[in-house]
Each structure stands twice: as C-alpha cells, then as structure tokens.
Symmetry: D2
Subunit: 363 residues, 4 copies
C-alpha cells in the first residue's frame, strides 16, 4: 500500500469508511499559514452526504477536528492532522455479503490482494469516503495557493450522457453552488438531477464528467520529464475512486485535430506572452504555461447498485447473486466536484513548493 502523495507538500491518508475516523496528514506545509477549522469545514460541507435527495442517505456531520500542526490558527511547520469521525456506520449488511464482491467495486481485488484481511466494512479504505480526507488537505493547499493568486474551480460538464452547454468563468463561479449537481448550466443541471432520480428509482446509477480549472497559475509548475504536470495531476485524480479517464485541454479530441488547428498561437497581450486558444489546457512540455489549466475526469457510474447482480462467493468459489443493501449515491459526480478541486490544489501546491515559488515561512 502507498497512502502518501506528494514530494514537498505531502499528504498521508488513514482511516476507513466504517472504522472510527477518516483522516489526512499534511506534511510540508509552510509555517505561518492562517488556517481555521472554518476554512476546512466549508470545503468539507461541499461533499457531505445526506444533504440532498440525490445523495446517499448516510448521515454524517463530517465535522473537522485539527489534531496537530496548527497553533493559534497558524500552521507551525509540523505535520497537520485533520480528522472526521464516523458515526452512522451500519456494517451488518457488509458482514453478510463479505464474500460476495460487488461487480465493478474494489471488493474483489481488496479481498484477494490482502488475503481476506482487508476491512470489508463499507469498502474500508476503498470507500469514496476517504476522499473527505483529500478535501481537508485540499482546503489547506488552496489556502496556500491563494497567496499566489491562484484559483481553482471545478464543475460537472456531463452526467448520464446529458452534457452541459459551455459556460464562461463568471457563470461557472456563480452557478455551480446553485444546484445539486454542481453544473454551470442550469438547464442541464435540472435534466441531470432528473436523470439521477430516475436511475435511483430503477436501482441503477450514472456516471459523468467533471472539469477542473486552475486560474492565475504561475508559469513553471511541473518537473519533466517524468514528473510532468499532466502526469502528477492524473495520478492524483485517479486516486479518486471511480475515475477511469483524465484528459487535458483538447484531450481525446486532439487526436482528431490537425496540428494547424490544435496548436495554440502565441501573442503578446498586456506585455505578457499568452496563447489565443488553449488546446494545451495550460500545459506545454509537462510545465504550466501561465494559461488556465483545464482537466477533465471521467467518472464511471457508481458500482454499488440496488439491482440483483451476478457475482461469486470468493470463499466457496461458487456462483452467487448480490443485491446491495448499503446506502449509496446513485451518482457520485456532484459530490466529487470538490474532490477534483482538492486533488488539483494538492498537486499544484506540491509543484509550487518544488519550483521554489512559495516561501517556507508565510509572513
């Protein structure tokens, strides 16, 4: 297992879905950064379950506790441990189906790789609930990056095949929090919500696409040839359960373009070098160019569905059926929006420190 991420801004995750807590340790954050519980709680609240009819009925306060690394509302330079407690755990259902892996879920590989010793209750560390830790660390990273003027946004661009119309930054900033699906296009948002309810009613689930955007990114983030900005962002984003694809700028559609279409011409604007288009998604040669970073992640439909599915009994090695009684989101895309922001922030904070762009003490 490898539950740490990052080189200078380093996070370490521990805790399980149905254990006592979910936690993240942030090591390497410069000293002197102002951080309050409210800074973290406001981010956590964006992924909290049970807040709308679209999400899992599991009720969790998800209230952050700061266990270390912050004194008098400032980071001390020491590792910051942030936790939320688990309260509403109902593990009985999981005990019954312990040997019946849910299709599409990590149940099977977790059981096999860890010899059956894995914490199967609620998926253990393979639960989407661990992303609450990512969000807490992301809140610290965002606060740190905000010192450089950097801003991170994410929004739902597709759910269940319903695509949002492209919106400008102003609309994204304004609309995402206004609907239950985190979409900048209000009309599409309504359709997405309806589609999720319908899928839920059918005991089924939906996937979608989230777009992350980073603005005012300093030139020079990324350490090629192996620690490219794309590569490290992708690695961080693939840690979000259910992510199965990551693309930057024109991404897969670049494969269908000509060079003359896909290349972004350079021009001088207000004394600075910029490009007139941004097919590169703000990244050239694995290094941020100063243009907005644009990344899109494909999220598969929730694997835990209420319909009866064909599976096996791993212990008895015989065919079986499973009907999942746990409490699950019919579509995790809306709650994953803030997680995409968090992983983006964590990765950029690490690169900003590696590039020497953030001092080791904030004054």
């Amino acid at each position: 297992m490898s539950n740490s991420l990052g080189k200078l801004f380093k996070i370490t995750s521990f805790g399980e879905s149905h254990g006592g807590l979910i936690s993240i340790v942030v090591d390497g954050c410069p000293a002197g950064l102002t951080i309050t519980e409210a800074d973290i709680q406001s981010e956590l609240d964006k992924r909290k379950p049970g807040t709308s009819t679209l999400t899992t009925p599991r009720k969790e306060e998800d209230r952050v506790e700061i266990l270390s690394g912050i004194l008098d509302e400032h980071t001390t330079g020491a590792p910051i441990c942030l936790v939320i407690r688990n309260y509403d755990t109902k593990s009985d259902e999981y005990k019954k189906s312990r040997f019946l892996p849910r299709p599409g879920h990590a149940d099977y590989t977790a059981y096999m790789k860890y010899g059956g010793f894995n914490d199967y209750r609620g998926g253990g560390i393979f639960s989407g609930r661990v992303t609450a830790g990512f969000v807490m660390a992301g809140a610290v990273a965002r606060k740190l990056l905000s010192l450089t003027g950097l801003e991170i946004l994410a929004h739902t661009v597709e759910i269940g095949g319903i695509a949002a119309q492209p919106k400008d930054l102003g609309e994204i900033r304004e609309n995402v929090a206004k609907n239950q699906v985190g979409c900048a296009d209000p009309e599409a948002a309504r359709e997405m919500a309806t589609a999720i309810k319908k899928a839920k009613g059918e005991g089924d689930s939906l996937g979608g696409i989230i777009e992350g955007i980073a603005l005012n990114v300093p030139m020079g983030l990324g350490e090629p040839i192996f620690d490219t900005l794309e590569g490290e962002l992708a690695k961080a984003l693939f840690a979000i359960p259910a992510v199965k694809g990551v693309e930057f700028g024109s991404g897969f559609s670049a494969a269908r373009k000509k060079g003359s279409e896909n290349n972004d011409p350079f021009v001088i604007k207000d004394g600075k070098i910029v490009t007139t288009t941004n097919n590169a998604g703000g990244i050239l040669g694995g290094i941020s160019s100063g243009m907005p970073i644009v990344v899109r992640v494909a999220i598969k439909p929730t694997s835990s569905i209420a319909q009866s599915q064909q599976t096996v009994n791993m212990k008895a090695l015989e065919s079986a059926n499973t009907e999942i009684k746990g409490r699950h989101d019919a579509c995790i895309v809306p709650r994953a929006v803030v997680v995409v922001e968090a992983m983006t922030a964590i990765t950029l904070a690490d690169f900003a420190l590696r590039a020497g762009l953030i001092p080791r003490v904030i004054k």
Copy 2:
C-alpha cells in the same frame, strides 16, 4: 526537474536530442536476467526514424550500447545504462529560431522555466527522441515480466479521425507489424497512411489514439490509495510527449453508461474468478484484477508543422512568424506504439517487484 521514475524498478533518463546521446539507467532490475543487445535493439527498431516515408527523414542508427550492469549477458543487479548515440543532428535551424517558440511545443515553457539556459537544439530533453530511452528500459522490463507470462501489446486504434475496427488479439498480434501505422485493421491502416501523407503534403500533422493491452497480468498489481495502477500508468504515459489523455477500460464512455451496464459480472471459469466483460480495463480499486489491462492514450497532432504560424520572439517580446524547417513526423502515433508498450512494461515491472511477485535473483 525529475528524470527518474519508479520505486523499485527505477529508470533515470539523461541526454538530449542534439547532444551526444540519449540514455536511460535502469536501477533495481533483479540480477540474473538474460539480456542481450539484440533484446533491446529489436524494440528500438520499432521506433527508429527514417524507416518509412511516413516518418521524419532524420536518419539515425539508434544502435544500443550497454554501458553497465550487464555481464556475460546477465543482469548483475547493478544499474544498467543503455545508450544510443546521436549522429544526424542539424542544429543550425534551431539556432535561428531559438527565441521563436513553436506553437504547441515545449519551447516556450522550457525557455521560461530554465531562464533561457535550456538546450533548445532539437527541443533538448523535450524532444520525442528521449522516448528511445523509454523503449530501451521497456525492453528490460518486458523481459523481466515475461518470466511471469505477462505479455504487452499496443496498437493504433485511431489516426486523424480514422478509427480502426475492433480486432481480436490474434489479429492484433499479427497485423500490427505488417503496416506502417501499427494498426490491427489493415483497411483502416491504409487510410491512415494516406491521411498522414496528405497532412504532410499540406505541411500539417495528425494525432491519434493508441491502445495498450497487458495479458496474463497477475492479480494484485497496484498500491492504493495513491499509487493506483491507473495513476502510475497514467503518470508514466503522460511522460510521452504529445499525450493529452489517458483512459482505462470503458474510460470516458463509462461516463455515459449506467452502473448495470458498466459493472463487470463475476463468474467462475476453469476454477478461477473472472469477469464476463472488461469495462474496468482489468483494474478494480487501483489494483489489477487478473483480467487484461486495457489503456488508451490520446496523442495530439505533432506540434512541429511546416506551415507558417503565429508566435512571438521571447527575447524581444514582439510578434513573429515561424516556419519550422526541422525534420519532423507528420504523425508520431505509429512510432509511439512501442513507447506505450514500454511505459506499460516499466510500470508493471515496478508494481510486480513492489508486490513481491518477482524474486530479486532470477535463476
């Protein structure tokens, strides 16, 4: 900069496109593995330039030399250094355009990040030529993995919007080497070749999609929650210049599926647990399931095109035009097929060692 990749099977790249050589150091390969120059050369030849009318006219022998780590055709346990020399370098054109970044290329960020000290000749380390080092390391990784029966394939599935028809494994194995574009569908291959020639004639370029497949992968590769198999593969693949998207299994199309469609049912076949479909691309919870790993990478059209393009003079900070006179592939997809295989092999070799599945001495 960070020019090393991997934890236990670790590669370090050095050398530049127009310097004396391109090189890779492989550290952590178990001792006792039989490796000859022929093992590596046969892989290198697959990406060698100048072999068809579709590729760059740059002529390079690309003959591997083993500088260390191998004695009497066996790995010694010490770092293996593999190099190819550069001969056909014509750097004059690059000197002239030193301050005129090619749109879509790393010229701009390399110049800015390294304060103008970067080796601009032929793109320096940002040249696709560094992937020859990846291929050499990949040859070692493949040899190592072959001990477990693991097999890695890749093939072109799309170029310039022309998509190959799905082919079975037998056809892929047989057809890929038969055409200049590395495609398993002979008819599509012909169209792709025509399209590349046409783009070349227009001073333009094309992108495409390559699919990598790993067969007979042992269950248990991947170290969640952060070193997932998807995440580390993606990181390795994004080190290939021009890659802008990576997806696994049903990938972005999963976003449009329902859970009941996308989940892969488990069944028992020949006493083993398998899935009837493989939308997961052989990876559940960031860990290999034993099913074939399937990854697709989007490759943008070559940024170096012969048409006149709008750019800036970075030194003078004024508008400029650039017409690229260097020798470039109008489509790098065909030569990148073996590079996708190499990065896949390198990543899987690292995970196999981390999982304790390969002994430290091969006997």
Copy 3:
C-alpha cells in the same frame, strides 16, 4: 519538514509534546499480521516516563489506541494509526521562556526555521516524546520481523563515563530489564544510577552510549550503493533527539586497527559461511552478512538542565539567562534503549520487504 521514513514499510509521525496526542502511521505493513494493543503497550511501557526516580516526573499513562488498519487483531493492509494522548502538560513555563532558547536544544533552530510559528510548548515535535511514536511503530516492525526469527536487543553500555563490562547475549537478555538504566552489567548499572542521581541533584545531566544488536538477520538486507544498511540505520537513529554519533561493529576503533586485525575471517560452520569475528558489525558492503548486526549510538547529555545558562532573547536580540523549570530526565539513555530497538526494527522491516523476504500477506 519530512515526517515520513521508509520506502515499503513507511512510518509517518504527527503530534506534539504538549498538543493533544503523539501519533505514528505505519503504511506498508503486510496484511494478516496479528497485532494487539498489548503487543504495542509492552514496548511503550519500556519508555514510559515517571516510572522511576531517575526519569522526568511528568506522569503519562502512554496508553496506545489503535485508530485504523487493524481489524479483529490482524493488520488489514491499510495504514495503521497508533496514538497516545497527552494529559500531564504544563505549558506555562514554556510560554514564559518562549524567546529564550535552551542551549543545546532545538528551540533556537525551530524558532528561526519556522519563523516563530513553531509549537514551542514542551519543544513541540522536537521533544523526545515523539519517540513514543517510534516505539509504537517499532512494536509492529518487531512483530513482523519475528516471523523470520529475527530478534532485536539493545542495552546501555555507558553512562556518564561509566562503561559496562562486556556481557554475553544471555546476560543482556536477562539483565537489561532488571535495572533502571537498561544495562547488562549489574555493577555498572548501580554506578550509573548513582551518577544520574548525583547529576540530577546538581541540576546537571549525563549522556551515554547504547548498543543495538540484531540476531538471526537474513543475509541480503541493504540496497547499496546509497541505501546501505549502515546509512539507513544511521538515518533512522539520528532521528532520535540527542543522538550525535553512530558506529557499526568495531566502528571508530577500526580507525586504529590494521586490516589484518579488523578483517573478519570466513569459515564454514554447520554448513554455513560465517566469520570468526564480527568487526564488521554484521554488515559488508552495506548489506547484512548474516552475522549479528551491532550498532552503537552516542547520546549527548540532556540539554534541558536546571542550572542557570547563558542564552539570548531571540525576539529582543539581547543577552539573557535561562533556568529551565520544565520536567526533564537528567539522563535519557535508559528510556532511549527501547527507542534504539524500535528504529532498528523499523529499518530492518523496510529492508526485508524491499528484499522480498517477507510476503505481502501473512498466513
């Protein structure tokens, strides 16, 4: 800051001396290892303060809590978080002397490096109290290593210039727990205890030397040329506050020997290759040879002493005097014995996993 250690068996420390808790996360421990709180508590008790007249009067239960990673008394493969709470914190004295660094202590560098934002209460993360976390992780490592038959011992060989007579393994195993100073020589132990009490009475402190021994070490631990067994053990041991020297085998005395004296002749004994002497301390070329590993660490006298000392006011930049009122051990050597064992165990566990000598699932 870098609060993680190890490559495959990786520990991450968080928590402060006068914060809520001291904690360690162990990531990478194979699944299926039996671990109970008692396994850890028995180690923790060896360094618990307040147990004899020789130690700090600070009273702490130091009762371990398992927060994650263990289910039904077995490791799950997920990160194991172990904590002890702080109860008996008296921080007022530290507030008063916040700007008066204790000579010989980290107060000065902590204040300067972290811009005054460091948690100064009780030394924050620079307190010897963080080694309780090392001991908890060490308990897991020892349990893991015990599967291979490996055994780790440590004992006090010198305090305040009083040297113990060399004792054989049987005596070490038997005598160390019998006295308050962890010494295998009962007579020297009495003198050491007297010397500590005397120093304490004078408001002064003593240092000493601890010897660590690892028995039944498999051949092959160590990954040269940089991750040598000596190098990684030394790095781990220097993380113990107050350690200022580390030597292996004949160590510094080797500098005065001839090669013909210092070389350990090889012989065959019971069908195995062994050496007749062990000046190498069980390590040749940075790799364990199978002979006992022998390491000695020099521990400086506790820097916090009750005498008045010359210092400066870091804020006012003026001369000052400090008289330390905190509760400190006049000699930390006795309580550090188990910490030396812990760091040795943690390092060897990491190397055993790297060498592929321990399976990823314990059955």
Copy 4:
C-alpha cells in the same frame, strides 16, 4: 539496489570498477550554473590513484567527460551526466579468486545477494572507485553552494592511531594539499605517511578518521523529524566504502560530558545569534544553526591486504586461503578526504534546495 541519492538535488551512480566507465548523473541542479570540465577535474584530481607512493599503483587518467546537461558551460536544467573511463583494468586476478571472498570486503554479500551474477571484477560497484562519481557530483554541488558563500573542507585527523594536533581553519586550508595524507598537522602527516608505508611493506593496511567542516552554512538546512541534517549526512557518508562510524560535533565524547559542559551557550555577536562553543557541530534539532558543521567519519583499514587470509570457497563451500594480488591502497584515508567533502556538499545542496534557499535559475 538503490543507486540514487537526494530529493531535489539527486544523484544516480552507474558503472563498475572494471567495466567501461564510472559515471554519475546529477538531476535537479538549477539552470544557469557555470560549470566547466576544469571545475570537476580539479576535484577529481584530488582522489586520482597513482599520484603518490602511498596509493594504489593502478594508473588512471580519470579525465571527466560531460555527456549531457551542460551547454555553453552552463547547466541547462536537464540531468548532467559525468563520466570517467576505465583503462588500467586487470581483471584476471579477480577471475581466479571469484569464489574466494576477501575478508572484510563486500565480495561475500555481493555474491550471495545477487546470486553470483554480480560483477566481481575489481569489486564491481562495491569498489572505492565509484566514489569518483561522488566527487564529480560533489564538484557541481560545491559550485552551486558557493553561490551562497558556503565553503566545505575536510582533512585527515587520524591514521593508524596517529592523531593530528588540532589546527585552526587557516592551517587546515593551507596544509591539507601540502602533504600526501591530507592532514593539517605537518608533523603528524609525516608520521602517518611513514606508518602507511610500513603497513604496506607488511602487506597490511591502516584506517583513520576524516573530519569534514562546512562554513557559512545558512541556518535552516535539515528537514526533521526524519530527514535530519545528521541523518542525511550520515546516510551519504556511509555510502563511502569503508566508513563504519559518523559523529557530529562532540560526537561520542558527548556521551562522557555533562549537560553543563556540552550545551553551547548562546550569545549575540555582531548582531547575530551565535554559540560560544560548538559541541553541537552546527546542528540543533537536526537543523543547521549557522555555526560550522563539523562531522567526523571513521574509516576502517582497507580490507584488501596482501597477507594470506582465511576464507572460504563460496561455490564449493569449503575452507580456503586467499592472497590478494590486486592493486590496492594500504590506506584509503588520504584519497577519501575529497570524497567526504563531496558527500557533504551533495547533501547540503539538496537541503538548500529543499529549504528554498537557492533559486531554480542562477542569474
């Protein structure tokens, strides 16, 4: 194997004693640093063999070649590969004694750990010759550190039990290059040289102690609690073959001092906080305090001696005798002085980058 060292200033070693070359790759050096072959050669010459009657008769030019990463005498930001070729290799003797491990040498563990596939010729990568690579990387690190005014010295303080009298910095700077043993005390230097010749005449060898000193070290190098300055320096120094002990400041002698003696009082001098003594060796809490860093390394007597020694035939598993005919230094201490400087420089350069004290582009 792990042949890389460092986090941001990272070196990777490859090449063998009797292979084609010895090489080091330096990755992470800021761009724009002026480096010429002469800068590196002058350091290399200090450890070159065959320059005096005291060293091995092996004749090697040890002429540095820059293979990558430097353009127009400036670093480009890309990995710098530096090599020296091997010419005077006489491997026949090694073939004969392939299965007869030299007592005290890595022959035994190298053979066992790498299953007999290790390059046994001249010790392969376990030869002291690999330290030529360290010296080349050290030359780059020293050049980089010199930008901050930091200066690194080392000198022999003991050989074969002959201890140099303490000398001041001026004498150290002046005298070390004047004698064959790198000692600041001319009288002791003569005795040491005589002792080495005598040992050589007897087919024996001597060890000794080298002291490294770093001056004008900025406060704040070191990343506790695990990446302490002592820990990382020790790890780097233990990579030098034959090092068996490392101590800082008062080191092992601190174990015999009282706190009131060993603590360094703080005073204000020229507006800066300094200590009146330096028992801490310039390091408090694992972080540089701004006082000179003082480290001493114990070097064992060369294990390769000409006398007949008791060993075993590893293949036949039977007793044997070995008389080593290779060409070896009777005392490697003199040639190791510059290697101690190099490892110190490499470690400090890494920490200076980690602390953000050196810009990523040198202007």
